[in-house]
């Protein structure tokens, strides 16, 4: 029977099947509910925020008297009302500024009024006097001794034990790698490449802007509705900041209209909650305008990176020395961990015996940075992967061969000293090279065009505290269907569908018979750390499978007792309990709630079935602060490769991507079509950052806070030919072998395009976005065109 169990255990239906999304129907009919769609009733108040016009200034005085006197205004609050700090890894933020503003848009005061218009008027009536300070606008300068200090109290902030701020400077985290002997290795190198790369700030721009609605009742209970990737983290951080119990804060999170990291942790939600504490019983809605979203929602940090890498005459990488200056902006409570992740992954997906890396998170007077899809990896890989190409050319080895020679493989000792788990990276490289017909050069489509191909590879680990946990329940219903409870959030990535597939597979019922309970509500849903890091399929998936197995065990034990059989001889197939021994069969219907009668009317057995499951990694270790070395830095790495073929118009500099190919090792694709959809979407987002996107900051002031001036890829920009390839080298502790792939597709896109442009015209364009103008000027500079 163990055999049968093992066989079933292998890959039950519908794991690996491309079932349609569980939320598709409600989303195509307009029935899906997002936070702004909930009807909050006639008591609803509207909040607006008074924000700093200066990138760096001291607050001398705030006069709210006129605003308070405006009819229709119900509350006006300032930083003095909420003295506590807030933050995920480093508590460096007040809810409202108290003594100092640190970026254009920093919240200074908040208003609640009976209409948005009145709230807006009230904000205009608040008078703030500032003493303007010198802003810090460059992270490399900002890390040095001559920069103004943005956080004088850095040394007093509460900080996670794996983050290393340097009080007295603007460095809020310094992560070091010291592996092997880099200095000694250079002399053995036959080729060395040294480059500086820069990446501008970009933004997530979910099509749904941030929104939070908060209510505080007479007992002090806080209810927060929001577009949230992190209901439980918000509950925790807001409770701590307000000095409340976590159980007195309820976060209700309906569908999210795109997150990409910007709705993780706590940002504008705390403003809504703080204001709501002053208007007890009434919900207060704060909805960011698109302009406000551009100014004040999280942005992806800019990066100035220095790479030095060398290889021997056969092309084997011997050493790397990398320095990263991250433009962390005004607050880095979340992004300190991005700079850590970039540090512990700083070799890229390569086997390099000698590595020295310094990753500095630097405060500047720029917008607040936070997690964005890829968590430091797209920025870091952009320069690193172009450098690798340069080194391959320098030593005279084909870039694909160079990567196959050096890429990280199963069992390698990686940059942090951890042993690499089974990985299909080399298979990914081979597959994209084949699909893009690497080595074959097609003629350009016109005489004024130059054609090129480029490849880039990547790795990324879930970046999180070592013990980020997941939990789940599976509750059976009268009709034999199951309802799955999770605390992770559906952002569009398809997690509810994948959880339903896993529950169906582990339980033995059809996919159509599974529902996922929502909205996620911290009062009712099981705990989940956050919906970030591409960790749900793996971590929450494990919890769901465990919960479904627990429910299954309860059912089989009940039926076995009733049939006087051994549970090991029973199975659940398609919603029916069957016995391989007696060949009896009974549908789940009713028995999962009412139990089963004992023979001869002697009472009942069983009862309502609720399975529970959890998952938490227990094996991640700390790293030495001086060397970044330790037995296990991360849970695992998802790896992959992308290749593009493109044409550059040498008369205009315009680049057209003709096709893109991407392969990722997802361990096991629970829903292959959704994996492909995720890869395509990520590729186009990456392409968008390669060609169009940049937050233009002039003296700390954002110059392009609209979709007209901050352009993202449209239907006309997406290459028609995008091919997604799935590689499956199982993750030992993943559900059915799965690991995540949500973020990874956008990591290698910029350098793949950069390398293809170089292949086409022999020029490195510099920092993205690779606009036609920039490409054109680069060609002029290189003397390719006059």
């Amino acid at each position: 029977m163990a055999n049968k169990e093992a066989q079933r255990e292998k890959i039950p239906n519908p794991i690996g099947v491309s079932v349609p999304r569980i939320d598709a129907r409600e989303k195509v009919t307009g029935a899906a509910i997002y936070a702004d769609d909930i009807q909050y009733g006639p008591g609803l108040l509207y909040a607006r925020i008074k924000r700093s016009p200066h990138p760096h200034a001291l607050i001398k005085s705030i006069d709210c008297s006129k605003a308070k006197a405006l009819p229709g205004v119900k509350a006006v609050v300032t930083g003095d009302d909420f003295p506590g700090y807030i933050g995920l890894y480093l508590q460096d933020r007040y809810i409202f500024c108290r003594d100092r503003v640190r970026y254009v848009g920093d919240p200074v005061a908040g208003v609640a009024a009976i209409s948005e218009e009145i709230a807006e008027q009230a904000v205009e009536l608040i008078n703030v006097e500032y003493e303007v300070l010198e802003p810090v606008l460059n992270p490399e300068f900002g890390a040095g001794p001559d920069a103004a200090i943005i956080h004088p109290k850095l040394g007093e902030y509460v900080v996670a034990n794996f983050i290393f701020p340097e009080p007295g400077s603007n460095i809020s985290n310094h992560f070091r790698i010291r592996k092997g002997d880099v200095e000694g290795a250079w002399k053995d190198c036959a080729a060395i490449v040294e480059k500086r790369y820069q990446i501008p700030h970009v933004q997530h721009v979910p099509i749904e802007p941030h929104i939070a609605v908060a209510k505080v009742d007479e007992n002090g209970k806080v209810t927060l509705w929001g577009s949230s990737q992190s209901p439980f983290a918000q509950r925790n951080l807001i409770a701590s900041a307000l000095g409340k119990s976590q159980s007195d804060v309820e976060v209700i999170a309906p569908f999210v209209g795109g997150g990409f990291g910007s709705k993780a942790g706590v940002s504008m939600e705390s403003l809504a909650v703080a204001i709501a504490t002053r208007v007890k019983g009434r919900p207060v809605k704060l909805r960011l305008t698109r302009e406000e979203e551009f100014y004040t929602a999280f942005v992806r940090q800019g990066l100035i990176a220095y790479f030095k890498m060398g290889c021997d005459k056969d092309g084997r990488l011997l050493a790397m020395e990398n320095r990263f200056y991250w433009d962390g902006g005004a607050y880095t409570e979340y992004s300190v961990n991005i700079t850590r992740a970039a540090g512990y992954s700083s070799s890229g997906p390569y086997d390099v015996p000698n590595v020295k890396a310094d990753s500095y998170c630097v405060y500047t007077n720029h917008p607040v940075t936070g997690p964005m899809r890829g968590f430091g990896m797209p920025e870091m890989h952009s320069g690193l992967e172009q450098c690798i190409d340069d080194l391959a050319h320098e030593i005279g080895i084909d870039p694909v061969q160079f990567r196959l020679l050096n890429c990280v493989r199963t069992g390698d000792t990686i940059v942090t000293g951890m042993k690499m788990h089974p990985t299909g990276l080399s298979e990914c490289i081979e597959k994209v090279a084949k699909a893009i017909q690497w080595g074959e050069k097609a003629p350009p489509s016109a005489p004024n065009k130059r054609r090129g191909k480029g490849i880039a590879i990547m790795w990324k680990a879930p970046a999180m505290p070592p013990n980020a946990g997941s939990s789940a329940w599976v509750e059976m219903n009268e009709d034999g269907t199951a309802t799955v409870g999770v605390g992770g959030q559906e952002l569009g990535q398809g997690t509810f569908t994948v959880m339903a597939q896993m529950a169906a597979g582990a339980l033995g019922i059809p996919y159509e018979d599974v529902r996922v309970a929502r909205p996620v509500d911290t009062d009712y849903s099981p705990y989940e750390w956050q919906t970030v890091a591409s960790r749900l399929t793996w971590s929450m998936g494990n919890a769901v499978v465990n919960a479904a197995k627990d429910a299954r065990r309860q059912i089989l034990e009940m039926v076995a007792q009733s049939w006087d059989e051994n549970p090991d001889d029973l199975d659940i197939v398609n919603g029916v309990v069957i016995s391989y021994k007696s060949e009896e069969a009974v549908p789940l219907k009713n028995l999962v709630i009412y139990g089963l009668p004992k023979p001869n009317d002697q009472g009942w057995i069983g009862g309502p079935v609720v399975g529970r499951g959890k998952f938490m990694p227990t094996y991640v270790t700390g790293l030495d602060p001086q060397t970044g070395q330790g037995p296990r830095a991360v849970v695992h790495y998802t790896t992959g490769a992308e290749a593009v073929e493109l044409e550059v118009d040498i008369e205009t500099g315009k680049v057209e991507v003709i096709r893109g190919v991407a392969a990722f090792d997802v361990g096991k694709a629970i829903n292959p079509d959704m994996v492909k959809a995720q890869v395509e979407g990520g590729f186009v987002q990456g392409l968008s950052t390669a060609f169009f996107e940049s937050l233009i900051l002039k003296d700390g002031v954002l110059q392009n806070p609209s979709f007209v001036d901050y352009r993202i890829a449209t239907s006309a920009d997406a290459p028609k030919d995008i091919q997604a390839i799935i590689v499956e080298v199982a993750q030992d502790d993943g559900p059915y072998g799965a690991r995540g792939v949500g973020e990874h597709p956008l990591v290698p896109t910029i350098p793949a395009i950069g390398n293809a442009i170089y292949d086409a015209i022999g020029v490195r364009v510099g920092a993205p976005p690779f606009s036609a103008e920039k490409v054109y000027l680069a060609m002029v500079d290189a003397g390719i065109i006059a």
Partner: protein, 160 residues
């Protein structure tokens, strides 16, 4: 702000609505009629999330004043399926996996619907052109284009 009483046909139903002079069609649909399927992504005519059909033409409802809609006929995402029967475009979006977060989807469907009304067999380029004002941050667009093609291949689409 003065209020105006307007008559507007929404998804075939005649509605009498009182609206302030500065209220947009988007806000009227969402706040007065509780038709929240139409989304607000920018309130500035730049993202297409609020697209509805006004007198047969796709418009950004955030850029139209409700008072201008007196006597007009409006179709929103809620009017696309009939009696629980999905429209071919909706089914095609599901079949092609062309929805992720879903926030752009109602607007995308309205633009695509308008396209098929005026052009039953659009080319790839024509579809991309028709959807250029509908920003989607999730899908990368190709599946949406495929969905429109799938729906266009079904004869009943245009009649619907």
């Amino acid at each position: 702000m003065s209020n105006h009483k307007i008559n507007v046909t929404v998804n075939g139903e005649v509605e009498v609505v009182e609206v302030p002079a500065n209220m947009t069609l988007l806000r009227m649909l969402r706040e007065k009629l509780a038709l929240t399927g139409t989304k607000n992504g920018c309130s500035a005519g730049e993202c297409g999330a609020c697209t509805v059909i006004l007198n047969g033409e796709p418009v950004n409802s955030c850029m139209v004043l409700a008072v201008e809609c007196d006597g007009a006929s409006v179709m929103t995402i809620e009017g696309l399926s009939k009696d629980g029967q999905l429209h071919a475009l909706q089914q095609a979006v599901i079949d092609q996996g062309a929805v992720q977060c879903g926030f752009c989807t109602p607007g995308v469907l309205m633009s695509a619907y308008a396209l098929l009304q005026r052009n039953a067999k659009p080319t790839d380029e024509e579809i991309r052109e028709a959807l250029v004002g509908n920003l989607c941050r999730c899908t990368g667009y190709n599946r949406i284009v495929e969905a429109v093609k799938q729906a266009a291949d079904q004869p009943e689409t245009v009649a619907a």
